[in-house]
């Protein structure tokens, strides 16, 4: 019986022919997500090939989940949330979310993907006291209230709150998403409620875990796809069980996206990740060992990579980094030392420290002038961008800095020309940095020179990240170095949490953040008017319904942050080299390289990238 396999990926043909795999029509949902490549200015591609990537750590295989960016809903390049795995989302009053699945959508093992998978997660995981002692994820809890979950039909589920939950969809669309479904058919065998106790016991012993909870937890892990048996909805599915140094991901035959010709994505058959020391990755890349690589290569490697383009058969592109600032200096307003605390809480001091930095110099020396000298705020890629935030207190003006400091009461200096704090101690700041890249230390060194000119002495001290965090929270660290806003291309629909005290991970006000986060149980109540205002605004956003409302809130918050200089951004929009194999197509020339939103390559639809000579790529050495 003649069959039309012309749309099938060639690597599947044999399996289909021999009956191990159903034909395309049976594999795709009834209404697959169609990606119109020509409309995006991209070329439809060939099937085949292996996309090689290099990673520095076994845990980096989670990048596969990030890059492939298949989510219930996703951000598009305009910053809007659009359905992806879902066919449609209906929102009523910002508080009732009805999720419609695609009919006929299947997990990568061919099992149908249905509302049962949501129910299983909600009833048996999120609300199981053993598996989730703290209950469902925070994003699903509004002011302490859990949603009402409802299975409408086979392909429809509903989450309902009594007040709006604007954070719900962005959480689902995150690069590291909140997962609200699990492949129930697979997971049940590990769940005490469903599994045969004898078999479960054997599994627990086999995996050498403590109990069924740990077993379930381990088997269900999908962000870091360590369980090759776990069905997935991503473009590629893992096939290697760790520990390993080499991970292979194969195309998912039931993936839900197709190109405009109806051919199932992804184009590339296989993705491999080879694990090695991260510091060696630039060298390996230069030797042509990666087809698409941005992780673990930094701007400083650009020249070297550029020199190797010819031999390595790749091109280096410069994308723009999406943080609010490449590095920021974060004064700890909760520092234990009362002298410094008082000084740092004085906005004039923060402003002075900011304008004393010769950002141009830093940009020239370290980024060849390719970065942008500005504060830690949203970038032009964001609909909320306003150059006023960007320029606020980011000029180089040592005279102003001196004036501000004098006004703030640091007007006395010792013999070395170092200012004295009001309590008489020398104004020596030890900045703690977890920096393992040279740029960060270099920037600190340069800032040190600049600050010396205004009578502030800077010492840098390297510590481990966790210790840094600890010492910030404990109030031991006066100032820390940290990247700027994670998501500097945010739109109004994304939560503005990072602009206000909301979590203890915020080094400018860890205790205030903790206070808000724990609803007053721990930490300290914010006691700076500006900070209180920010807390307020963040709460307002949580209750907001319309995008316009949210936009206003965002703008106010950005304004306050810019004015108060809670964090001292130094350079933003710096460049991220992206190495792309000469044969790899559809990789945008320019882009924004950021985790949130965008999932690095995810937002650029990595499944539409393809190799010029797809099949030939299989023959190349995998290194």
């Amino acid at each position: 019986e003649p069959r039309d396999l012309s749309l099938e990926p060639p690597s599947f043909v044999r399996d289909i022919w021999e009956g191990r795999l159903p034909e395309l029509a049976q594999r795709l949902p009834q209404d697959p997500r169609v990606i119109d490549l020509p409309a995006m200015g991209r070329a439809p591609g060939h099937y085949g090939g292996t996309m090689r990537m290099l990673m520095g750590d076994q845990r980096d295989i989670r990048m596969m989940t990030v890059y492939s960016y298949a989510r219930l809903v996703v951000f598009d390049l305009k910053g809007d949330i659009v359905p992806d795995i879902l066919a449609k989302v209906d929102i009523e009053q910002g508080r009732i979310f009805t999720l419609h699945l695609r009919k006929g959508h299947r997990w990568s093992d061919g099992h149908p993907f249905t509302s049962e998978d949501f129910r299983y997660w909600w009833d048996d995981v999120a609300n199981n006291a053993h598996l989730s002692p703290d209950g469902p994820p925070l994003q699903l809890v509004v002011k302490g209230e859990r949603p009402v979950f409802e299975v409408v039909d086979e392909t429809t589920v509903r989450f309902m709150w009594s007040t709006p939950n604007p954070g719900f969809l962005p959480a689902l669309a995150g690069a590291q998403p909140v997962l609200i479904m699990l492949p129930a058919h697979y997971m049940k065998q590990f769940h005490q409620r469903y599994a045969d106790p004898v078999r479960l016991g054997a599994l627990i012993r086999g995996e050498r875990v403590k109990g069924w909870g740990a077993l379930h937890d381990r088997m269900a892990r999908s962000y870091r796809p360590e369980n090759p048996d776990l069905p997935t909805l991503s473009a590629w599915m893992p096939t290697t069980k760790p520990p390993a140094e080499f991970f292979v991901f194969k195309r998912n035959p039931y993936y839900h996206r197709v190109d405009e010709q109806g051919r199932q994505l992804p184009y590339v058959d296989e993705v491999t990740m080879s694990i090695g020391t991260s510091s060696l990755i630039p060298a390996k890349v230069a030797a042509g060992a990666a087809d698409l690589q941005a992780r673990y290569i930094s701007f400083a490697d650009y020249t070297f990579l550029k020199e190797g383009e010819h031999n390595g058969h790749y091109h280096v592109r410069l994308w723009e980094r999406g943080e609010g600032a490449y590095v920021t200096l974060v004064p700890n307003l909760n520092v234990a030392d009362p002298g410094w605390r008082a000084v740092l809480r004085d906005v004039r001091v923060r402003r002075a420290l900011s304008v004393a930095i010769n950002r141009r110099d830093i940009n020239q020396v370290i980024f060849f002038g390719l970065g942008h000298e500005g504060a830690n705020t949203v970038l032009p890629g964001s609909p909320l961008y306003d150059s006023r935030y960007d320029h606020a207190w980011a000029q180089y003006d040592p005279a102003l800095a001196n004036k501000l400091l004098d006004e703030a009461g640091l007007d006395k200096r010792d013999d070395d020309g170092i200012r004295l704090l009001p309590n008489g101690r020398r104004a020596e700041i030890t900045i703690e940095t977890a920096g393992d890249n040279t740029e960060e230390t270099d920037i600190l060194e340069l800032v040190g020179y600049d600050w010396e000119k205004i009578g502030i002495k800077l010492y840098a001290r390297g510590v481990q990240r966790d210790l840094l965090r600890r010492s910030v929270i404990a109030g031991n660290a006066t100032m820390a170095v940290w990247p700027g806003l994670d998501n500097a291309t945010a739109g109004p629909n994304m939560p503005p949490d990072s602009l206000a005290p909301t979590s203890s991970m915020q080094f400018q006000w860890p205790l205030w953040g903790q206070y808000v986060d724990t609803m007053g149980r721990e930490g300290e109540k914010p006691d700076l008017p500006a900070a209180e205002k920010l807390v307020d605004l963040a709460k307002q956003w949580r209750r907001s319904v319309t995008p316009e409302e949210r936009r206003q809130i965002w703008e106010k918050m950005l304004q306050i942050n810019a004015d108060q200089v809670f964090t001292i951004g130094i350079v933003n929009r710096t460049s991220q080299p992206v190495v792309v194999n000469d044969r790899l197509r559809n990789v945008p020339e320019v882009g924004i390289y950021s985790f949130e939103p965008g999932a690095y390559f995810g937002i650029y639809l990595i499944d539409t990238f393809w190799f010029e000579d797809g099949n030939a790529a299989l023959e190349v050495k995998r290194d």
């Binding site: 060696l280 400083a300 020249t303 070297f304 060194e445 340069l446 010492y459 001290r461 660290a477």
Partner: protein, 394 residues
């Protein structure tokens, strides 16, 4: 002198009765020469010094080290630039040649001007010599100001670049600082860290190992177990732990001392074991018994009688340990535990060079290995000389 020379009979012939007929005076001693007189009551140290002087390479090495150590006293003066001074227009400039002749005319040492172009394609700074601009190098001149030993303000330098020119003999680093100046300043830390570290580790090693070896018995047993425990704790976690214990408020200088001592504390076990096992066999010798019988106290027996027998090994190990201390700091820096700016050292500089980019693009940044190697060689040849001087058999 005797008149008869004793000659043998032919083979097989009976032996004649030969008698030397020179006058015989049993009290006669050979006259002492001036030199012999000088020698005979010379102390052992003096004797060793004389012997040492004969080892040319060692003397040269010793001088070299002496000069180096002397130089750290006046680093500020020797360095053409202040080591923290950045030259934003000359970032990663390769080493600059010092010329003597221009167009065939002798001018004295001078440098040409450097013109710098930015290759925005490869993001690389290219420097070319501009032979139209000539900057004669100045000597005993005013240049970058510094605080001598952090105390006295000054700006006198041995050499400075010509007015308006540059003098980057070893190139500049990524922030445009003169490598040569950094090297000169870095010697301060690098050359002392080894000595301090080694004093700690050798002190501990010899004392503990010496006593364990001499006493034997339960004392030995206990120290052996302690050594085992210390030895089996790998260095890295200890470094991590110890460094996290170092208070954050310590100034870089204190941290530096802390590190030195940590380096020393880690290193004594091997030596202690070696000393111990050697002493275990040496202590059986009669001269040790003799020392005991004189009523010598244990420390004297160990350090005056026993340890010298082990001198060769100690010297060899010491001369090797010093470099490893210099470099050990590099390893610490690699883990992010090393010295922090503004302190600079050869280890720090080398650590900055731990990058494939630098190996390929800016190889002059690896130059700090040269002084490290030179110092290590010098220490070893010096050690050879010392060994020989202490060697009674030579």
């Amino acid at each position: 002198m005797s008149a008869t020379t004793h000659s043998l009979p032919p083979p097989g012939a009976p032996l004649d009765h030969f008698v030397d007929d020179a006058p015989f005076d049993p009290y006669a001693t050979e006259p002492m020469t001036k030199a012999q007189e000088r020698i005979y009551l010379a102390s052992q140290l003096t004797l060793m010094w004389w012997k040492f002087k004969r080892h040319r390479l060692a003397v040269v090495s010793g001088l070299f080290l002496a000069v180096l150590y002397a130089s750290i006293l006046i680093s500020e003066f020797l360095a053409p630039y202040n080591y923290t001074e950045r030259h934003t227009d000359f970032i990663r400039s390769p080493p600059q040649a010092v010329h003597l002749f221009h167009d065939g005319n002798f001018i004295g040492p001078f440098t040409y001007g450097l013109t710098y172009t930015l290759d925005m394609e490869k993001l690389r700074r290219n420097y070319t010599e501009d032979t139209s601009r000539i900057y004669p190098v100045r000597f005993f001149c005013r240049g970058d100001s510094y605080r001598f030993w952090g105390l006295v303000e000054g700006n006198l330098h041995l050499v400075c670049p010509g007015e308006g020119g540059t003098l980057f003999v070893l190139g500049t680093d990524r922030l445009g600082r003169d490598m040569l100046s950094r090297l000169i300043y870095g010697a301060r830390i690098s050359l002392t860290i080894g000595l301090i570290g080694i004093s700690v580790s050798f002190g501990l090693g010899i004392i503990i190992g010496g006593l364990a070896g001499y006493y034997g018995g339960w004392f030995d047993l206990l120290t052996q177990r302690a050594i085992e425990v210390v030895q089996s704790l790998p260095h890295i976690p200890l470094w991590l732990a110890l460094s996290s214990v170092m208070p954050p408020t310590w100034s870089p200088l204190l941290v530096y001392f802390g590190i030195t001592i940590i380096l020393g504390l880690m290193d004594w076990t091997g030596l202690a074991r070696a000393v111990r096992s050697k002493l275990l066999s040496l202590r059986e010798d009669d001269y040790v018994v003799a020392a005991q019988l004189m009523g010598a106290k244990t420390p004297r027996i160990v350090f005056r009688h026993l340890v010298p027998g082990f001198m060769s090994h100690l010297i060899a190990m010491a001369t090797i340990a010093i470099p490893s201390m210099i470099l050990g700091e590099t390893a610490l820096s690699f883990l992010g535990l090393g010295l922090r700016p503004p302190i600079t050292s050869w280890g720090v500089m080398l650590n900055e060079a731990q990058n494939i980019n630098i190996v390929v693009l800016y190889p002059w940044l690896i130059l700090p290995v040269v002084p490290v190697i030179a110092v290590i060689l010098a220490f070893n040849f010096l050690g050879d000389g010392l060994r020989d001087a202490a060697d009674p058999y030579r």
